[in-house]
Each structure stands twice: as structure tokens, then as C-alpha cells.
């Protein structure tokens, strides 16, 4: 096939993509500004803070490695959330799925001793991923067959899994010589290789990139991706023409759960090396923000997870030099979700600017705003 045509992007598609990038960019900038005001109220210069953050994030090879290693778990959970959201499913269960992935990764990584390096790495990831897939499938089953709300089910399951993990790390699987609740360190054969020596950055990040590209390919180039787009945009029209939404719910949930749990395992097989209580807590929820900023597009998620990586890595520097707590990055992430899921805010700001610019007010028809929070 002609390669040029294969990746042909028309003007309309460009326009729509630019619009999405605009929404994300404005959301991000608006969040930065608002958090900047908070920093200013706390008595620091927001500009200096941000400048030192960015400088801190890019000052050395080690700090750049930190950016990417901070981005790694967010890349996985962001992808997991985004793919489910393409069929308008809100999989907040990625928090629990990732945790179970991390736990299963620790178990397989520690107790399987007969495999050589590479097979052991992949076997661990596979089993962890399948665990997440089964959990997500269970949520899908409850939704499709019993009409349960996937958000509530996932939230409940998150708690259950957190306590299961906590119990195992405190009880049966607790490491012998340690004071805290954690499992034994996994076998060296199950550890991912480091990309930068003495950093926390592993080949896990590359696996994340690979998965993002695969997902982007699926969405854009395959019939499965076409069906996902149809079912996610208009379920009824899909069913009228023989595309069963329930089947796609299962598939999207399975992919989502697999990717989330894989991310958990990659954390275990990378920087953490064992499962400990709360080690991967919070990444699942942050994934929502990552996905939203990435416009629920796998390639967009690569960028948004990188941006958050910069913020997180930089915030460590800021935290060392000032007493601004690095939790303010969480505030930025939350603000982004607010702005991205309410694009009307951005459109009205845009309108307001236009009105001020033109002497004669020009009334545009209501912008056809993408409404990603329109769930059925």
C-alpha cells in the first residue's frame, strides 16, 4: 500500500485535532495559572517556582531519567483509562487493577525461580496483565449482565483489592527481615533492565510507548477501532447496524485492565522491586487526568504523561529548595480534569476574547463542543 495515503490526514481532521490540542493546552495553562496564584498567596513567586521546576527537571541526565520514570506509571494508567473511555466507560477501577498487577508481579517475580531473565520478565508481566484483565472483565460482566454501574463497582473493588494487598503484605507474604509491610524482593531474573544507570528509568517505559502506538494503531486502522469509535459515539446507531456495544464493553475493559495491571507489574519489576502497602497507590486516579489531558488519544497520552513527569520530577527540586509541598502537582492534575471535562469553560473564554477584539459583536452559533463527560 502507498505509504503516503496510508497516513493521509485531511484538513478537517487537522482542524479537529488542533481543536483538541487547543482544549488540552488551554486547560493545562489555566491550571498552571490557578495553582500559580495559590503559590503566590502562600508567599512564593510562582514564576520562580515554575522556572526552578523546569530547570530542576532538565538539569542533568539523572533528572531527565527521573522525568521519564515518573511518567512511566502515568503512561500506563492514562492509556488504560483512555481506551475504556473510548466506549464511554469510566474505568476508575484501574487503581485496583494496577495494584493487583503490582502484587501478582511481586508474587510471580519472587516465587518463580526456574526461568531465565527475559522469559521471566515477560512471564511476570503477562500473568500480572491477565490478572487485571480478569478483574476488568468481571466489572464488565456485572455492567453488561446485571446493569451495574461500572464506576461504583470499580470503586468498591478498589477498596477490596487495597485491603487484600495490605493483608498479604502484612501477613502471609511479608518479608522476613523488614520492619514495614512489604513482600520479599523479586528475583533478579524478573527485573527490567535500566535504561539509564543508577536511575529508576527502566525498559518499562519503552513497553508503555509500544503499547500506546499499538492502541493508536488499533483505534485508527482496524475494524475493532472503528467499532469502538461508533459504539463510543452513538451506541444505538451502532446496534442498528449490527455493532454490539456490549461486546465492545468487554473488549475495552479487558484491554484497559490488562494495561493497568501491566503498569503495576512494571513498577514492581522496576524501581520498587517488591510489593509494599500503598506503593502504587494513586497512579490509577492520576491516570484519569493524564487521559483527559491527552484527549483520550493514546498518542496524546504519551505527551500528557511526559508533561506530568516533568512536573513531578521538578517538584522534588522545588520541595528541596522551598517548603512548597510537592502535592501542588496533584492540584494541577485535578484542575486539568475540571477544565478538560468542561470544555465549555474554554469556549466561553475564547468567545469573550473574540467579542472584546472585534468592535462589532459577532454572534457565532454555539460551538459544537466535544462533551467527553456525556455518559449514558
Amino acid at each position: 500500500m502507498n505509504k503516503k495515503k496510508f497516513f493521509h490526514i485531511s484538513r478537517e481532521q487537522w482542524k479537529r485535532a488542533l481543536n483538541k490540542v487547543m482544549v488540552s493546552a488551554v486547560s493545562f495553562i489555566a491550571s498552571i495559572v490557578i495553582v500559580g496564584i495559590v503559590i503566590w498567596i502562600s508567599g512564593y513567586s510562582p514564576i520562580e517556582t515554575y522556572v526552578s521546576m523546569v530547570k530542576g527537571a532538565f538539569r542533568s541526565q539523572t533528572s531527565i531519567a527521573l522525568v521519564f520514570s515518573e511518567a512511566t506509571p502515568l503512561l500506563f494508567t492514562g492509556l488504560a483509562f483512555a481506551i475504556a473511555f473510548r466506549v464511554r466507560l469510566v474505568n476508575v477501577g484501574i487503581e485496583g487493577q494496577m495494584m493487583m498487577g503490582a502484587l501478582v508481579g511481586a508474587i510471580v517475580g519472587h516465587f518463580v525461580t526456574f526461568l531465565p531473565h527475559i522469559p521471566h520478565v515477560f512471564f511476570t508481566m503477562l500473568i500480572a496483565g491477565l490478572t487485571g484483565m480478569v478483574i476488568a472483565l468481571f466489572i464488565g460482566f456485572l455492567k453488561v449482565k446485571l446493569g451495574a454501574n461500572e464506576v461504583i463497582i470499580s470503586m468498591m473493588l478498589n477498596s477490596i483489592f487495597t485491603y487484600i494487598g495490605s493483608y498479604l503484605a502484612n501477613g502471609p507474604l511479608r518479608a522476613k527481615v523488614t520492619g514495614v509491610a512489604q513482600t520479599e524482593i523479586i528475583q533478579e531474573t524478573a527485573l527490567l533492565s535500566k535504561l539509564v544507570p543508577k536511575s529508576q528509568l527502566t525498559t518499562g517505559y519503552l513497553i508503555g510507548l509500544f503499547i500506546a502506538i499499538v492502541l493508536a494503531f488499533i483505534l485508527d486502522q482496524t475494524v475493532l477501532g472503528y467499532k469502538i469509535r461508533i459504539a463510543g459515539n452513538n451506541r444505538i446507531a451502532g446496534e442498528t447496524y449490527g455493532i454490539k456495544a456490549t461486546k465492545l464493553y468487554y473488549i475495552a475493559f479487558m484491554i484497559s485492565g490488562f494495561v493497568a495491571a501491566l503498569g503495576g507489574s512494571i513498577m514492581t519489576q522496576g524501581p520498587i522491586t517488591r510489593f509494599s502497602d500503598g506503593a502504587v497507590a494513586g497512579y490509577g486516579f492520576q491516570g484519569i487526568s493524564v487521559a483527559a489531558l491527552g484527549a483520550y488519544n493514546p498518542l496524546g497520552v504519551i505527551f500528557s504523561s511526559f508533561l506530568y513527569g516533568v512536573l513531578r520530577a521538578g517538584s522534588y527540586t522545588v520541595n528541596r529548595t522551598t517548603n512548597i509541598p510537592y502535592e501542588f502537582v496533584d492540584v494541577i492534575q485535578v484542575m486539568v480534569v475540571v477544565f478538560v471535562s468542561a470544555p465549555q469553560i474554554i469556549f466561553s473564554v475564547k468567545k469573550w476574547f473574540k467579542k472584546r477584539k472585534t468592535a462589532k459583536p459577532k454572534h457565532l452559533p454555539d460551538s459544537p463542543a466535544p462533551a467527553p463527560d456525556q455518559n449514558q
Binding site: E12, L224, Y226
Partner: protein
């Protein structure tokens, strides 16, 4: 005296001039009919009067005082009310509650229900609306719901009533009632603007007719007694139009599609009871009936979308079973009744929409990969052959006008080999030229020796298009006939259940 006058109204939407210096005047107690195709600017003009849009240029006068109408509340305060095509009622509320919502008479912090009831009842009696204010809206027929909408306006002291396509969903009897109601309102001094494509009704009720075309006022001084349907159609479209649709079937062959023993129960209610019919090759079988008498269930059953209690479908003598997918792939193509919710995915491109249902045919998919070049070519073919007006095939489906959306859906259904076309409400809310085009395509399809099953709430349409007509009432086929054997008024009686015929001679004849 003029109650409303609009001067030199111009409205520009990005890329188009929706209205170009249009004038409108409306006298007290006058019924003005606003005619025009979709996109002619009728709705824009009315939305400006109602405060939904703001004109770029021009002035509006109410009782000879200049007014600035910025939002619908401003219009309502002046006494300008609009009844939309899609009713805005709460089905679970009573008629009374729907009418007073937002303008409740108060007794301290409470609603003064007694006063509200008296006032609403008074209005109902005055205009002979024949409604009980305590009945829930969900129990009302479409015609009755429309009366509630009109009452809502009257309750708010409407001096000017704008009716947007009021007859689109009504049976002939209900249309007559509505026209009578409008005359009553006129007598009491209410001015009415009626937006419509239905020329017959315009002639029957209007005092004056105004025609818009492409945002330009063509004429606003037409008296119904001095004109006729052909002239109005000509003025609207700009060229003459063939209004007599009917075309004899050229060659009616053997039975191509047959449905037997179709019954459906939903939530304990029998929606369809023992439906049997056949469609011969080269024949259009139409279903007439008031909406809600089982048409939706019938369409869902024969396209595989619903699973009935009992049904046997034969396609070319072979049984057809399964879900929507199997029906589609055996050649039963479907143009669903609701364009935007069932027929299209508005937020996806025309290409994505064009292959909906064809998405795993060899031209569109190979080894699970979408064939973008073939899809683009297929979409271009659909656009070209069905004359869909669009800048390109990458725009979103929602950007097209209703008529072009429907053409795209028709193109999608007919562009691949098929045996049976099941088409519902093919021209609802679509302008005259697009309708004519779509009807022509349906006839051409029939004359290729295919079966067509047509359901429409527009009796004129089924009456003129069908070679054989089924009348559906309360989930049963109460009449099967050749349309020319009955008048529309007689059919209306069957549609309302006022007449029932026991023997169906034509059905027997068709068996041979």
C-alpha cells in the same frame, strides 16, 4: 395594526448568509404562513423573533415600539411564544403541572393549585381544547400533547404564537382539529405564524402567505384564494416540482419478503398482535397509522433489532433468523426512523458513517484492517450518486443538513447489493427537493425488482408511494388495500380505529 414587524433582518452564520435583509409584518389576529425549504431561513427568522439568535442587522418592532429581544424570556414577556416541533413536556407530570411550570400562581411559598386549575380549565373551555388538566402527559396522543404546548403559550398570555411544523406528526383528523383551533385563536385576537412545508394546510388556514428562499424574501403578499399548490411549490423551490408522486409499479414479481405470526409483548402490553404480510418483488408496501400503534416494534422486528414473541421471516423463500447483523448481511437494509439517534453517528466523519453496516465487507476491511482508500472511494460514490451536498467526505455528519443526512443514509443502504429496503419516515423534516429526490430513489430501487417496506407518519407520503397499503392500529393490521380503493379520509378512520374491516379480499388475491 401591526403587532410585530421586523425590518431588514440580516443574519450571517460562518460561511452562509442565513437571512438577507428580510422584512416581516404580522397583523393582530392574523394567521401568517411562512413557507420555504429547509435552509431557506424560516427557522432562523423565527429564532430571531423568539430571542434564540440575535440579528446582525435589522430592527424588530412590537406594537410599533422597537424592542431588543436577547433571549426567549424577553420574547415571552412580550407575549411571543413558540411551539417547537419537538414537544418540551414532562411526561410524568399532569397537563396542569406542565402548563404552569415556570409561571406558577403562588400562595405564599406554595403553589396555588386551585387558581392554576381554574385558569387552565377556563382556557381549555374557551378554546374547546377538550382536555382534562389532571391527566398525565404520558397518556396523551401526539395531537393532544401539541394542544398542551399551545395551552402553555396561551397560559402565558401569548399575543403571537409561532408554530413550528405543527402538522408534521398529526393524522388527518388531528390536523383538521388543529386548523379549527387556530381559527378559534384568531377570533380571540391571537396572531399566529405557522412554519410549514405542507402547502394544503397553508391554503386552508392562512390569511397571508410569505415565502423565503435561500435567506431572501420572495413574496409576502400571497392570498390563499389567489394561488394554488403548484405555484407555491414553484415559489419555494425556484423551479417546478412534481407533486403527484405516485408511479405504478412496472413489474410485480413473486413474493420476496414475508412475515408471519409476528407478535410482540413489551412490559405486559401487547404491542403487535399476529402480524402477517408479504412483499412482492418490485412492490412498495406502506404502513399507515398514527405513531405509537406498533410501527416502531414492527420495524425493529423485521430488521432483527428486537426479538419478538413469535415471528417467521422468509426472504426469497428461505427462513431468515438472527440479529440485526444477520438481517443486514442477508440483504435487508434499513433506513431507520430516527436519523440522528439511529441512523448516524453525528460526531464522526461522513466516511465513518458511510460504511456503518458495511464495515466488515471485503471492500472496507481486510484482515481486520480498515481499507481507507476503498472507504474514501465508497463515500465519494455515495455522495456523488445521491447528490449529498457537502464540502468533502471528512466533515462530521452533524454538519450536514437534515436532507443531506438522509440522502447519505439512503445512499449507504442502497449502494451495496440488497434485497429488501425497510425505510421509515424517509422525508421527515426534509425539504421538498430532497424529498423528491429520495422518493425517486425509492421508486428506482423498487423498479429494479426489489422489495420496499415503507413506514411513515405522513399519510400523504404512504398513500402516494405505496403499491399496497397496510393500516396499523393498536398493534394489528386493520386494513390491507390498494391505496386507490380508499380515500385518505376513509383511511384516517381506520387509523383511528373508528372503522374495522373483517375480510381482507386483497390479501387473498395476493396469495396466488
Amino acid at each position: 395594526m401591526q403587532i410585530v414587524s421586523m425590518h431588514n433582518i440580516t443574519k450571517i452564520f460562518p460561511g452562509t448568509k442565513a437571512l438577507d435583509s428580510v422584512n416581516l409584518s404580522l397583523g393582530e389576529g392574523e394567521i401568517l404562513s411562512l413557507l420555504g425549504e429547509n435552509g431557506a431561513g424560516k427557522s432562523t427568522l423565527m429564532n430571531i423573533l423568539y430571542g434564540i439568535h440575535h440579528p446582525d442587522e435589522g430592527e424588530i418592532f412590537f406594537r410599533e415600539k422597537q424592542v431588543d429581544i436577547r433571549k426567549p424570556m424577553d420574547a415571552i414577556h412580550l407575549g411571543i411564544c413558540m411551539v417547537h416541533q419537538h414537544f418540551m413536556l414532562v411526561p410524568a407530570f399532569s397537563i396542569l403541572d406542565n402548563i404552569i411550570a415556570g409561571a406558577e400562581p403562588k400562595f405564599g411559598p406554595l403553589i396555588d393549585r386551585k387558581k392554576a386549575y381554574d385558569r387552565v380549565k377556563g382556557l381549555i373551555d374557551k378554546f374547546h381544547f377538550n382536555l382534562d388538566p389532571n391527566v398525565k402527559v404520558s397518556e396523551l396522543s401526539v395531537g393532544e400533547q401539541q394542544r398542551v404546548e399551545i395551552l402553555k403559550a396561551l397560559y402565558r398570555d401569548a399575543k403571537v404564537l409561532i408554530l413550528d411544523e405543527p402538522t408534521a406528526v398529526l393524522t388527518p383528523g388531528e390536523v383538521d382539529d388543529l386548523l379549527e383551533m387556530m381559527r378559534n385563536l384568531r377570533r380571540s385576537g391571537t396572531s399566529i405564524i405557522i412554519i410549514t412545508h405542507k402547502l394544503r394546510e397553508t391554503l386552508a388556514v392562512a390569511d397571508r402567505i410569505m415565502v423565503l428562499r435561500n435567506g431572501v424574501l420572495i413574496r409576502d403578499d400571497i392570498k390563499p384564494e389567489d394561488t394554488n399548490i403548484e405555484e407555491l411549490a414553484h415559489l419555494m423551490v425556484g423551479h417546478s416540482i412534481n407533486l403527484d408522486l405516485h408511479r405504478e409499479a412496472e413489474h410485480v414479481g413473486e413474493v420476496g419478503f414475508e412475515v408471519r405470526d409476528l407478535s410482540i409483548t413489551e412490559n405486559g402490553v401487547q404491542k403487535l398482535n399476529n402480524i402477517n404480510f408479504k412483499i412482492h418483488k418490485g412492490e412498495i408496501v406502506g404502513v399507515a397509522g398514527v405513531e405509537g400503534n406498533g410501527q416502531t416494534q414492527l420495524l425493529e422486528a423485521i430488521t432483527g433489532l428486537a426479538s419478538p414473541d413469535s415471528m417467521t421471516v422468509m426472504l426469497n423463500g428461505e427462513p431468515l433468523t438472527g440479529d440485526a447483523y444477520s438481517f443486514l448481511h442477508r440483504g435487508v437494509v434499513h433506513v431507520p426512523e430516527d436519523r440522528l439517534s439511529m441512523g448516524l453517528v453525528p460526531d464522526l466523519s461522513l466516511k465513518d458513517n458511510a460504511i456503518l453496516g458495511h464495515h466488515d465487507k471485503p471492500f472496507a476491511a481486510k484482515h481486520g484492517l480498515v481499507q481507507k482508500e476503498n472507504i474514501a472511494a465508497f463515500t465519494e460514490k455515495c455522495i456523488r450518486e445521491f447528490n449529498v451536498k457537502t464540502p468533502n467526505s471528512d466533515v462530521l455528519a452533524r454538519a450536514l443538513s437534515g436532507g443531506n443526512q438522509q440522502k447519505l443514509i439512503m445512499a449507504r443502504a442502497l449502494s451495496e447489493e440488497s434485497e429488501v429496503l425497510v425505510v421509515a419516515q424517509p422525508t421527515r423534516g426534509i425539504d421538498v427537493s430532497a424529498s423528491e429526490y429520495i422518493h425517486e430513489q425509492i421508486f428506482q430501487y423498487r423498479d429494479k425488482g426489489k422489495c420496499v417496506f415503507l413506514v411513515s407518519a405522513d399519510l400523504d407520503e404512504v398513500y402516494q408511494m405505496s403499491d399496497r397499503l397496510l393500516v396499523l392500529f393498536n398493534g394489528e393490521i386493520v386494513l390491507e388495500c390498494k391505496p386507490q380503493d380508499y380515500t385518505k379520509e376513509e383511511l384516517g378512520e381506520f387509523m383511528l380505529g373508528a372503522r374495522k374491516k373483517e375480510s381482507i379480499p386483497f390479501a387473498k388475491e395476493a396469495d396466488d
